[in-house]
Structure formats: structure tokens, C-alpha cells
């Protein structure tokens, strides 16, 4: 760890390229590419957020207010596609790009040029996907799941499929890069069981990506051939089986859920020990719990399909397998709480978001457990209850973890401290309005309001109005985050120290703030006392 000073002197003589095009478009530097991913992700968050505002505006009161039903369906479909593939996943890839080499003591990603390509595919994929909104037939409107035969009626299916292929290629290349980096580029002495939990979470996530993204690519390719080349894989009119598509889609789709949450688990496992000033409780259990969740994610896909008419034995198997996931997830939640227990805790903004994550993600987990029950799921299926569930795990779960990570590592990235006051204003507004937005949707779902509809019974009016008000204010609150980030990067006068946080441990805190353009050209010396999780093998 004491090598930080040595390699920094070494780094002095070659910084970032001077020209804008060379620096950002031709970059092979993991930090610059990580920054690009994060900026792209933030942009997509606001694009997807704008779609969400339109959805909530339409649902503000009963009756058709602002848009035609087809456009509403386009908005629900595009909101999901943009948020999943454009906001959440690239944000985690950006965080991984920035932090994994710093955390394992590597000078860069294993395949820097492929890293550049992985990123630059994404803007083109999303331009193509978003352009469908302006095409004569409109954009995808059959939901992000693109179930046939409905999706086969979409005029722009080819654009959407090609965009998904590009996103998939980008994700797979990114995953290969991350695995190759972690397995081959660790500093000598950084054994697998000494790696930070965030690195472990990304290693396992990358394997999930490689295992399931090609399945999605295969499924949408078959949709394409069904529509344009006369095949009948899924088209019932020609003898195809639409339920088969659902099986393949959810074989991808359920691990995809964990792709969007496992890196969040890793982030929380970094932040909580720092602000509790204690090593993480049960490091090995945390690692094995992530692996266990990843394994179980492959054998639970049909819980998304209980209502299609599965054999009873299959429903019971998928019900119990789904319930089993709560065991390793519970291990993680209890270990975070045990880490905090007896710690010298302080509540800076990253810790506030991390604590909110633990509480609100657990609420989302519990509603998921409710839906794993086959008989109960027949009531909840395709209602606002599921909308509330997955927004609790993806917004107050994954997104809160990403925001926590941004606050946690911003001083390391920019060399400046962000405004703690405005960070806390952002936090309290976010945590209040996200609950005003999504909690009433549980009641709407239990009362029978179906999802993906632009109009509804007047009986649902009050909760929808409350939810929409929460949505508008939650959306507006995220503008504070943009302000905090811009202020921190360009205007903050308060310089960050190298370690930034008193309780922070790990290799990334041994390099200066801001992190030099090149780090660890000389491998660092690993000191077990300086690892965030302490001596794991004692």
C-alpha cells in the first residue's frame, strides 16, 4: 500500500491526452471510459425519467388526459428499456470500470480497446431505439418483455431488436473484460478472498451476463425471423408457441434482475463498513451469498409466468426455489446490520443512501416473497402491486446504491468534496418522495388496478394522484443531484484528501484525489491491515 507515492511520481510524466476527441472518443483509459459510462447513464436516467413523468401525468386522474393509448404503451415500454439497459446497467459498468482496477491494483482493464468499443456501441444503440418513436409505425409498445404475438405487430421491431443486439454485444464484451481483469490483473498478493466485496459482486454479475444475454439475443432474433422471414417459432398462427418465448425471455430476465442488484450489494458492502468504522461482518458469507443468489437466479424464471398455466409440479418447484433466494439475501441484510451494530457510525450522504437502500430494498424483497406464493400471485399478477415491488428493488434499491456510490467515490474521482448540505437535501427529498411515489401502488395493485393501462376506474383516483405527485417531486429532486455533481466537479473549493473518509480502507484510497490518469503502473504491496474486510483467513 505504501507504493502509492512511488507510482504517482511515475504517473506525473504522462497524463490524459489533450484533444477532446482523442481523450474521450478514442480513450482506452478505464477512468475516462468509466466517466463516459456514468455520464451516459445519467443522461438516460433523465430520458427514462421524462417518460415516467409522462406516464404519471396521464395517470394523475382517471380518464384520458394527455396522450393516445398507443403512445402511453410506447412510454411504458421505452421507459423500462431505457432505464434497464440505458441507466442502471451502464451505471454499474461505469462504476466497475472506474473502481475495479483501482480496487485490485491493476493499471487498467485487461482489454482497454474493447472497453472503448463496449461503451461507444451504446449511444448508437439508444439513438436507434429512441428514433423509433419518430417513425411512422411508432416505437415498441408491447412492454419491455416484447411478448409475441403482440410484439410481432410492432412496425419498428427490427430497430428494437437490432438495438437490443447492440446492447447485448456491449454488455457481453464488458463482462468478458471485467472477468479477464479480475482473474488476470490483480496485484500480486490480492488473492480472490482478499478482494473487496464490490469486485466479487461484479465478477459474479459478469458471469451472469455472459450466461444470459445471448439467450435474450437468440429469443429476439427468432422474433425477427418470425416477423420478416416467415418462421413460426413463437407465432401461434403458424403453429409456434408464445409461451416458449416467455420461458426463454425469463431465463434471461430473472438473472437480469440480479445483474441489476448484485453490484448494488457490493457497493453497500463497501459503504457500510466505511461509515461504521468496522470491517464487514461475515466477509466470506457475503461472497458466498452473492454466488448463491446468482446460482438460484437460474432456476426461478417461471415465477414470472405462474398465470400462464404451468403444470402444478412446476409451479410448486418455482415457488419454493424463489422462496429459497430470501435465505442468502437475508444473510446479506443481517450482515449489513451486524456490521453497523456497535460501530462508530456517522451519517454522511453515502451512508444515508446505503441505510435507505437496506430498509427499502428489504420492503421490495418482502413484496417479492409475497408474489412467490403461487395462489397469492394469481391475485397480484399484472397489477400495480408488481409495479410497486420492482420499483422498490430497482429505484430505492439499485438506483439508491448507484447514487450512494457516486457520493462515496465522487471526491476520489474529482479531487473535490461535494456539498454535504445539498447531498442531504437530495437524500431526504429522494427518500420521502420515492415512498410517496411507490408505496400507494401496493394498495392500487391489491385493489385490482392492472398495470400498463392509461385509464382506470375512479375508485383508484386518490392513490394515483398521490403517486403522481410523489413521482413529479422525486423526478425534480434528481436535478439536485446533477447540481451537486457539477458543483463538485467544477466549482467546489474544498479539496478531498487521499483517503477521503476516515474509515475508508482498500487500495483505491491509497492513490491521490483526484485519481491520476494512470495508476498502479507499479504493482502495489498488499497489506492485510489495510483491506476493508480485515484478516479474512484468521
Amino acid at each position: 500500500m505504501s507504493h502509492a507515492a512511488t507510482h504517482d511520481q511515475h504517473d506525473d510524466h504522462h497524463g490524459a491526452p489533450k484533444g477532446f476527441f482523442r481523450r474521450w472518443c478514442m480513450s482506452t483509459n478505464h477512468k475516462d471510459i468509466g466517466t463516459l459510462y456514468l455520464i451516459f447513464s445519467l443522461t438516460m436516467l433523465f430520458v427514462g425519467g421524462a417518460f415516467a413523468m409522462l406516464i404519471r401525468a396521464e395517470l394523475f386522474k382517471p380518464g384520458m388526459q394527455l396522450m393516445q393509448p398507443y403512445f402511453f404503451n410506447e412510454m411504458t415500454s421505452m421507459h423500462a428499456l431505457v432505464m434497464i439497459f440505458g441507466a442502471i446497467m451502464p451505471a454499474f459498468v461505469g462504476l466497475g470500470n472506474w473502481m475495479i482496477p483501482l480496487m485490485v491494483g491493476a493499471p487498467d482493464m485487461a482489454l482497454p480497446r474493447m472497453n472503448n468499443l463496449s461503451f461507444w456501441i451504446l449511444p448508437f444503440a439508444f439513438i436507434m431505439m429512441l428514433s423509433t418513436l419518430f417513425l411512422p409505425g411508432g416505437g415498441p409498445a408491447g412492454g419491455w418483455t416484447m411478448y409475441p404475438p403482440l410484439s410481432l405487430q410492432t412496425e419498428s421491431l427490427a430497430y428494437a431488436v437490432f438495438a437490443i443486439h447492440l446492447m447485448g454485444i456491449s454488455s457481453i464484451m464488458g463482462a468478458i473484460n471485467i472477468i479477464a481483469t479480475i482473474l488476470n490483473m490483480r496485484a500480486p498478493g490480492m488473492d480472490l478472498m482478499k478482494m473487496p466485496v464490490f469486485v466479487w459482486s461484479w465478477l459474479i454479475t459478469a458471469f451472469l451476463l455472459i450466461a444470459v444475454m445471448p439467450a435474450l439475443a437468440g429469443a429476439v432474433t427468432m422474433l425477427l425471423t418470425d416477423k420478416y422471414f416467415g418462421t413460426n417459432f413463437f407465432n401461434p398462427a403458424g403453429g409456434g408457441d408464445p409461451v416458449l418465448y416467455q420461458h426463454i425471455f425469463w431465463f434471461f430476465g430473472h438473472p437480469e434482475v440480479y445483474i441489476m442488484i448484485l453490484p448494488a450489494f457490493g457497493i453497500i458492502s463497501e459503504i457500510v463498513p466505511t461509515f461504521a468504522r468496522k470491517p464487514i461482518f461475515g466477509y466470506k458469507a457475503m461472497v458466498f451469498a452473492i454466488a448463491c443468489i446468482a446460482f438460484l437466479s437460474f432456476i426461478v424464471w417461471a415465477h414470472h409466468m405462474f398465470a400462464v398455466g404451468l403444470p402444478l409440479g412446476a409451479e410448486i418447484f418455482f415457488m419454493y426455489a424463489t422462496m429459497l433466494i430470501s435465505v442468502p439475501t437475508g444473510v446479506k441484510v443481517f450482515n449489513w446490520v451486524a456490521t453497523m451494530w456497535g460501530g462508530s457510525m456517522t451519517f454522511e450522504t453515502p451512508m444515508l443512501f446505503a441505510v435507505a437502500f437496506i430498509i427499502l430494498f428489504t420492503i421490495g424483497g418482502f413484496s417479492g416473497l409475497m408474489m412467490s406464493l403461487v395462489p397469492a400471485d394469481f391475485q397480484y399478477h399484472d397489477t400495480y402491486f408488481i409495479v410497486a415491488h420492482f420499483h422498490y428493488v430497482l429505484v430505492s434499491g439499485a438506483l439508491f446504491a448507484i447514487i450512494a456510490a457516486a457520493y462515496y467515490w465522487l471526491p476520489k474521482w474529482t479531487g473535490n468534496m461535494y456539498s454535504e448540505f445539498w447531498g442531504k437535501v437530495h437524500f431526504w427529498n429522494s427518500v420521502i418522495w420515492v415512498n410517496v411515489l411507490f408505496f400507494p401502488q401496493h394498495f392500487l395493485g391489491l385493489a385490482g388496478m392492472p398495470r400498463r393501462i392509461p385509464d382506470y376506474n375512479v375508485a383508484f383516483a386518490n392513490f394515483n394522484m398521490i403517486s403522481s405527485i410523489g413521482g413529479f417531486l422525486f423526478g425534480a429532486t434528481q436535478l439536485i443531484f446533477v447540481g451537486v455533481v457539477i458543483h463538485c466537479a467544477f466549482f467546489s473549493k474544498k479539496k478531498a484528501t487521499d483517503r477521503v473518509w476516515e474509515g475508508a480502507k482498500g487500495l483505491e484510497w491509497t492513490v491521490p484525489s483526484p485519481a491520476p490518469h494512470h495508476t498502479f503502473d507499479v504493482p502495489p504491496v498488499i497489506n492485510d491491515d489495510e483491506l476493508a474486510h480485515g484478516h479474512v483467513n484468521d
Partner: protein, 58 residues
């Protein structure tokens, strides 16, 4: 903790700097490309396997 198998220990110890350093050697570079090739083939196998699975199911 139980003793680590020799092959895994060797794999762990091979963690060496590959890029931007003067420590690159042929062996570690070959291992890097082996890792990448195996992962790429795995992704390809899943893609092809999806078609095979659908064709067999039909």
C-alpha cells in the same frame, strides 16, 4: 481455511500486470487470451443453444 489446491494457488499467483507495464510475459498473456476465448465461446454456445433448445422443444 482448508489448504488451497495447487492449481488454484498457481492461478491466483499468476495475477500479474498485463498492460502498460514492463512485467508482461508470454505466459500471463496467453492465460489472459485463454480466459477471453473461453468466455467468448461460452457466450456463443448460449446463443446457439437457445436456438437448439427451441428447435428441440418444437
Amino acid at each position: 481455511m482448508p489448504a488451497m489446491p495447487a492449481w488454484l494457488r498457481e492461478y491466483q499467483n499468476m495475477a500479474q500486470m498485463q498492460a502498460h507495464t514492463d512485467q508482461t510475459d508470454g505466459k500471463s498473456r496467453r492465460r489472459l487470451w485463454l480466459t477471453v476465448t473461453i468466455l467468448a465461446l461460452a457466450a456463443l454456445a448460449v446463443y446457439v443453444g437457445t436456438f437448439l433448445q427451441v428447435l428441440l422443444a418444437k
